[in-house]
Symmetry: C2
Subunit: 506 residues, 2 copies
Amino acid sequence: MALEQNFKEYSVAEFFKKNKQMLGFSGKTRSLTTIIHEYVTNSLDACEEHNILPNIRVELDEVGDSKYKVVVADNGPGLPLSLIGKALGQMLAGTKFHRHVQQRGQQGIGAAGCTMYAVLTTGKPVHVITGYKNKMVSCDISIDFKTNKPKIENVVESDSDFHGIIIEAEFGDVKFDKGQYGALEYIRRSAIANPHLSISLKTPDGNLVSFTRTVDKLPRKPKEIPPHPLGIKSHDMLEIAHSSRMPKLSQCLTTDLSRFSADKVKQLKDMLPDIDFSIPPKQLTWSQAEELVKAFKRLKWIAPRTDILSPIGKEQITKSLSAILNPEVLSVAERPPKVLHGGIPYQVEAAVAYGGGIKSKGEIMRFANRAPLLFDTAACAITQVAKAIDWKRYNLNGLDNDPLVVLVNVSSTYVPYTGAGKQAISAEEGLVDEIKNAIQEAARGVKNHIRQKKKASEIEKKRKAFLRYVEQLSTDLSYLANEDASVIKTGIQKIIDEKFGGGLNA
Amino acid sequence: MALEQNFKEYSVAEFFKKNKQMLGFSGKTRSLTTIIHEYVTNSLDACEEHNILPNIRVELDEVGDSKYKVVVADNGPGLPLSLIGKALGQMLAGTKFHRHVQQRGQQGIGAAGCTMYAVLTTGKPVHVITGYKNKMVSCDISIDFKTNKPKIENVVESDSDFHGIIIEAEFGDVKFDKGQYGALEYIRRSAIANPHLSISLKTPDGNLVSFTRTVDKLPRKPKEIPPHPLGIKSHDMLEIAHSSRMPKLSQCLTTDLSRFSADKVKQLKDMLPDIDFSIPPKQLTWSQAEELVKAFKRLKWIAPRTDILSPIGKEQITKSLSAILNPEVLSVAERPPKVLHGGIPYQVEAAVAYGGGIKSKGEIMRFANRAPLLFDTAACAITQVAKAIDWKRYNLNGLDNDPLVVLVNVSSTYVPYTGAGKQAISAEEGLVDEIKNAIQEAARGVKNHIRQKKKASEIEKKRKAFLRYVEQLSTDLSYLANEDASVIKTGIQKIIDEKFGGGLNA
């Protein structure tokens, strides 16, 4: 039977090999940025999880036509030999997938995707040197596409007190670009959103660009918590119940969900007399889960804990934006945490910076859990919201006309991306409003300054117009009044200065 | 060691459960359209592969809050019991993944993704009735997320001469919408791009919308061919060689690649004296593959066979657009097939339709292998190109101002989508130019008509302006010349009619 013979299973590695663009490997510039993004993200997550102030060094060398050698080195905890393969040579394996904790990486594909791209475009494995708990390992990693298993070769082990990871790999079909989609801009934005990070980039032309940390403290460590009852879906409830270690449904609710008191269980019992809350949670049926979830929505809940997320922070954004952009005026807004459907807490920060060192018009800097999003701009909720803001209300002429930077960072245990490339945030209900609120709040902070600035600029314009006539008028009056011209000139200037307060430069 | 304990592998089903939006399940309207898309696409592919003129019936019923019952029935070949699970309850399994043939579905996720969404949002399996080779099977399919294996229950087998598949399933978190992103528009566009398809939709409010085929012939069947040497990458060459069944490299080249003659091998031998073309292809190294691929680019190749792709066709587009849109003027362009990097042939068709039954302004209808693309509009190369066209050159005022439909269909054995949602085509080099050429060619076809129409409209405007004065002038002249006003009026009207050709309505 032809149909049956043709029916084949294939591995997730083969899937992403054929669909590289889903992982951000489309176009030479973007592919290189994706590589830097995946490694830097992993380094940051690992350093923060182990309370290490991150130092990251990136080196790029052009070694052929569209071919670059990439080195990324960090001072993180490193990896033991037993995990190197899984971390770098196997897709859908990692520490991050099943956890309810805010981290940049979530999907356990990133670094393995880079290994895939190296092998696909150069035929060479990725060389890894890592120090972990006084052991240093150096080896070559590639990936067996048919089985999605790592291939580890040339393993050399030694004792060393070095900790961290150094990745050395060659990639084809990539290009270094200094523009808005390039590796340099990616690193610059990483520095903006991570004031505790020191990062340097050696560009292919031999220049060294360094961003030194402006804050010596690690960001608040995100905490792992059970999901919040609000917004949880029936299937989530069923899954939580079926994997619960509690003997009774009532205990499953109070233990496996956040903010669930015994009193809440009591209220539920009154609302749902047909459900027996003493059954083992494994016996929960779909329709019971559905009833529970419906009932959750009718109860009042305390908002999710605010200490589980790790936003950049108002003070930190102010420091890093001031250091890197040097704007004339800057306003930062931090919204309170909210819950996205599925019981996932999230928090939005925004900054609006104007003038001074900012030369570009309406640059939108998008971040998710402090990782810069450079691509898929139009598809991103942040872009859509920022463009829809009525900037005139804030005395601005709009994104296309003012020297303006709008920064938005969405922190969450689970960021709803529109694609596996993790470059655009999906326009989910609620989240869109929060982004809008955050930008508007930040914009209000610059509104008065800009109004005063515009007023001052108008006054200055008038003063200059009057001053243009002073010379001629002094000469004419001097002739008519038979008085020294310079005396008359000083007099007129004094009048103008009094009226216009000496101008802006007085 | 905490790090090692935390390191987990997970299944591709769990991955997509957590990243539903990658499969198009984001937002209620889009989720329902995705479901219809996946089933209709599978039905069309199956019917065409088995030379059956497709009849598809879609029924939607609202059965609860954001909950719909969906029935999709086709007259295709059906599925044997042994494959139902793999086709509908397992991700990354299917007939389409490894084949170099143009089909709508490519990734072996679609229908299994729908099963996932049904289970996630209602807790219920998908009910399937299928007739295949005189056997009828009815069963319930769900998916085990932990293992990515299908669960098949309530199997009933019987003899029957029915062939086809009937899917009956309930989905939560969906919404029927008559707008541009909804299921109805999806079906309307499917009918436009598939003039050989008869499809009906029973909407939740009980209306029946039917599109009857305008062409009684199946489209040319796409052929499966080996990749074209132009644009092939080193890794592809290595993989082709390593999986070749030929004893010698030279035979691998002439057999496993298209358009590869013995003479081409001879030319290669001269160019690459260091490569031994009599080695078993399995011994090909990366660097040899790289040299071969570089050498391919320096040879002259015959373009890929034109009969392997299955575009809609000029005549077919004309028929279906005329029947469904009834435009005032219509022009269709079919470009010759080209090769995308990776040796993948593709072909672009475009149509520009203006006025008449078209009321909407600048609607862009995007298709890939005749499947409508409704979402991720801004990210799609077709949208970007259509918007960048200088419409004034074609006497049009631009997409936002004219009653205009621009249709583009990209046919390929492998369409480069920007995401797993398969809704936007990646702006790959070459492809962008072809889309531009196709739209411009179609636009040139309406240019003259629109110029004449605009000229005629201006003449008519002038004529009307003159006619407005006729009454007054006749009365005045009648008074001055003492002649009957009606005689004068007839005379003046005659002069105007002669000058302006009696106007458009004469």
